[in-house]
Symmetry: C2
Subunit: 208 residues, 2 copies
Amino acid sequence: MPTATFFRLPEEKRKRLIDASWAELTRVRFADASINRIIAAAHIPRGSFYQYFEDKEDLIRYLLEDMREYFISLLRNILMEAKGDLFALPLLAYGRFIGQQGHTDPMLCQFIKIVRLNEGMDMQSFMGGPMQFLPDPLWEAVDPARLREPSREYADQVFHMTCAVLAFAIVETLQNPACVPQVRERIKLRTDLLRHGGAADGYKEEPL
Amino acid sequence: MPTATFFRLPEEKRKRLIDASWAELTRVRFADASINRIIAAAHIPRGSFYQYFEDKEDLIRYLLEDMREYFISLLRNILMEAKGDLFALPLLAYGRFIGQQGHTDPMLCQFIKIVRLNEGMDMQSFMGGPMQFLPDPLWEAVDPARLREPSREYADQVFHMTCAVLAFAIVETLQNPACVPQVRERIKLRTDLLRHGGAADGYKEEPL
DNA sequence: GTCGCAATGTGACAGGCTGTCATGTATTAT
DNA sequence: ATAATACATGACAGCCTGTCACATTGCGAC
């Protein structure tokens, strides 16, 4: 987390640093991002940077937090469009992320570049972090009657799985943009799997 | 990929380098791993290293390839125990990975340390790489009659989802070893979701 | 206003790391 | 024996990071 000092900084200076950071992170991979270049672009002395952030990872975590909040609100809107149907989330959100209008939304633009550069941006930090459990604003938009079990715990699990479908679809597309139609089909198939199950009817399960 | 020269190296020298590499990679994160330390430990001159590998990532990719093959054979065994039931894979494999006997298997030991150090070792490179599609040896062990649709394409999707369940369970456990029982329950719930679906019966789907 | 303390700004520096390259040595083919 | 090819090696240039001693500013107390 940035230091208190950072938040007390004059607006303009803080913005300069943030902008330069995004510019660097959308240009090269996290691993190759250089504090040197960031502070040079932002005209911030080296010592000052370390007064605000512990290190590069501290900075990155902070920047990604913004994204996380943005996505939650985006997903909330989509979920409301879908009348609270969690299973509809992957395909709808995919369209929003990959479709044309994605290219006008600055936050989505940054996200897309980052996922491209970082071969999936360590999906775990996204799935395990923001998308591990259903955030409150999203839970409010869920229609529990659509779930086999209307509890929040159950919704958590469904949400996690649908998010995984969405995340892999996005990563796959950004690494091979030619395959949008196949990815769409795959999302439909996986969503259907989550809705109705993939086991043959009436086959006895192996005991666990 | 390592150069041809690397493979022509005398056994002993190659082993020294590989061992030192594993030692480094199970001690610090990928990001912090140092070629300097590896070559010092292996008594390999700097110039030689670059004759064998392009860079650190080249080395890491090569080492992880071994792991991948090992896992496929491990999962194959488990799948055969489960009489070809893909849905049984996550819980069974989880027990094998996290249970006691994991600590005697050298490859599993390395895997566990690496996942711990790298907060999930960039799950994407594992899911998107080795586990994106059902590898042939695994497909041979699947009983397609247990699937709603017995095609290989369908099995691919089911496999991908079960692997995701397994992967997240492992990562979660290694980051918080206290929660094994909860994670077990979560695996069961998610597996059940994949088997029988999570949508309420008879609810009309939102059109996509 | 001025004294003093706390907060902040600053850039030189030490120590690490990487990738290259010129030069040396072994091996093979002719 | 000679040339050509493959391989070994370590010094080096260049980059990067985190720190630290010192300068500067802001601000309340007197």
